[in-house]
Symmetry: C2
Subunit: 349 residues, 2 copies
Amino acid sequence: MGGGFGDPHRRFNPLINEWVLVSPHRAKRPWQGQNETVAFETLPEYDPECYLCAGNVRANGMVNPAYEDCFVFENDFAALKQDEIAFEENVKDTFFKAKPERGISRVVCFSPKHNLTLPEMSVKGIENIIHTWQMEYTSLGKIDYINHVQIFENKGSIMGCSNPHPHGQIWAQSSLPTSVEKTQNNLKAYYDKHGSNLLQDYLQEELRLNERIVIENDHFVALVPFWAIWPFETMIISKRHILKITDFTAAETYAFATILKQLTTKYDNLFKTSFPYSSGIHQAPTDGELHPEWQFHMHFYPPLLRSASVKKFMVGYEMLGESQRDITPEKSVEILKSQSEVHYQQLDT
Amino acid sequence: MGGGFGDPHRRFNPLINEWVLVSPHRAKRPWQGQNETVAFETLPEYDPECYLCAGNVRANGMVNPAYEDCFVFENDFAALKQDEIAFEENVKDTFFKAKPERGISRVVCFSPKHNLTLPEMSVKGIENIIHTWQMEYTSLGKIDYINHVQIFENKGSIMGCSNPHPHGQIWAQSSLPTSVEKTQNNLKAYYDKHGSNLLQDYLQEELRLNERIVIENDHFVALVPFWAIWPFETMIISKRHILKITDFTAAETYAFATILKQLTTKYDNLFKTSFPYSSGIHQAPTDGELHPEWQFHMHFYPPLLRSASVKKFMVGYEMLGESQRDITPEKSVEILKSQSEVHYQQLDT
Ligand SMILES: O=P(O)(O)O[C@H]1O[C@H](CO)[C@@H](O)[C@H](O)[C@H]1O
Ligand SMILES: O=P(O)(O)O[C@H]1O[C@H](CO)[C@@H](O)[C@H](O)[C@H]1O
């Protein structure tokens, strides 16, 4: 590949067929913009005001059970509805193309403890979350009109998360969402051409080069993709060609829980803060097809750039032109690798 | 088209070939998330600390002239560099595709007055900005290796803008940025098929339906696109088929300045705040080709949803799945239309 990555260049993301502008020298500019408020208060293990804590009443009057590990419920303010909608589709119209969308939106509480975030949980606790995701993928996927199950987490108020209680969401729906469809098309084109999986082949190359690997264990690798957009964006890929989360062996579930704990711990240690991000799983849709082109992987999109209070803004140029980053993926790997796998809060006590 | 838009549905954006999920009922959910800090301080007309004010010294030691309307200078911390970079392109590689990028990044001060925002400027003052944009498009476009000139503005600290002094930016570069290339491909496909311009044909339909028009004058229309993503997203389109900003007649320049003032005034009046947004112009590239498929238009992407302090977060589902909105474009039009074209600050005094 040669060097030269110290100057402005563009890199190509084969998963979505898009470029990113990399401006490595720009990280040096002084910051004069908005600082985020960082919450340093210590949270209680139980908060009587929290609508996710066990035993509490939610806005709609329902009472949360006295749950012990994970607890799943239907989102009280869901973006999707289960009703079959009588609505005249006009998908043939060029300018006013629209179609009804059916779906189910769920909230997954990761733990009854209000103040326990992913990196602070035990590997056992994270295995419980993975089992919950597996059960949800299976049961939602079985529903006739559900063709895609999007598992994700918004962490931190800076990511629009309205409650610090550890939780994620699942939006299951009839259509493939835009990004998933793009990824599927590219995986499919690669599979049809090479007879192998794009991400598996990519992973082999990354393991050989060993320039962008953050963590590796027997079954999973966490790396900063060559085409990463966010300053500390990462992706977790399984070493085995796995289509979906329900294909995990017991050893893989354990290894995935372990790498999740390690990666999120490094994230927290980076700026000594509960590191905000949106994360989510991309995997085979539940449309009843085989999908050998798919490969299970998990994306982490964290917004912070320089400190707990300075984020990267994806605004003007990024919205109108293309994504732009100020630090090379290789530099980010170096920084993430050097972080301890012991959480800074645990070191303090 | 029929009704039915009160229930979850997806709409299609023919400019970029992507869908957006619309969840109209969701606007009713109570807000428990992060509130933005709103700056209510009155700014001085001249700030000795501001690096954009006339006569002041910038970080690199350069002194701003005593400018009287617009002032353009090279960005001191540019994301692009003019140097020709010796860098081995590997555009054939599947996984590690990269190429050097050359460009020029400029800052455009809209006025020497530190506290004068676009809606508060005179139409004459805005015409000066348009003339500056025209000159920059021409002079940058003439440079051999510059094939695209992106004119944009980030307004407000919530949009990563580090200085309230009224200003925009121009990033000119050798490649077509990702979003522009997508739009060009779709405009081109439409033009090849119909022999006409996609946005011109769309505008005719919108004028006929009169359901999403916010402002109309002799030469321009400001509307909320059928496929808008942001709560109060708008687009300004010229009524005449114009490829680029340098094609404006004098009457069109005046009409464009007028509609810019009216639209941004309505924005400010909406939540009685200096309304944040990223805006930018999409127009024909400067690659020396004719580009009859192009149509000059300007996008406004404002993040606010419910008030001066509550924005829409494009996070988890939006990053992994697809963009999602909580209020229909038709409802947004209704709200924007009902706003006065007299600025609330001027009403107060
Ligand atoms: O150039 P500025 O105003 O310092 O920076 C702002 O606009 C740029 C262009 O959209 C973005 O890349 C930056 O993240 C943002 O903070
Ligand atoms: O569902 P929540 O946590 O209330 O809301 C958050 O996540 C959603 C899914 O990414 C977004 O649509 C919202 O803008 C965000 O505030």
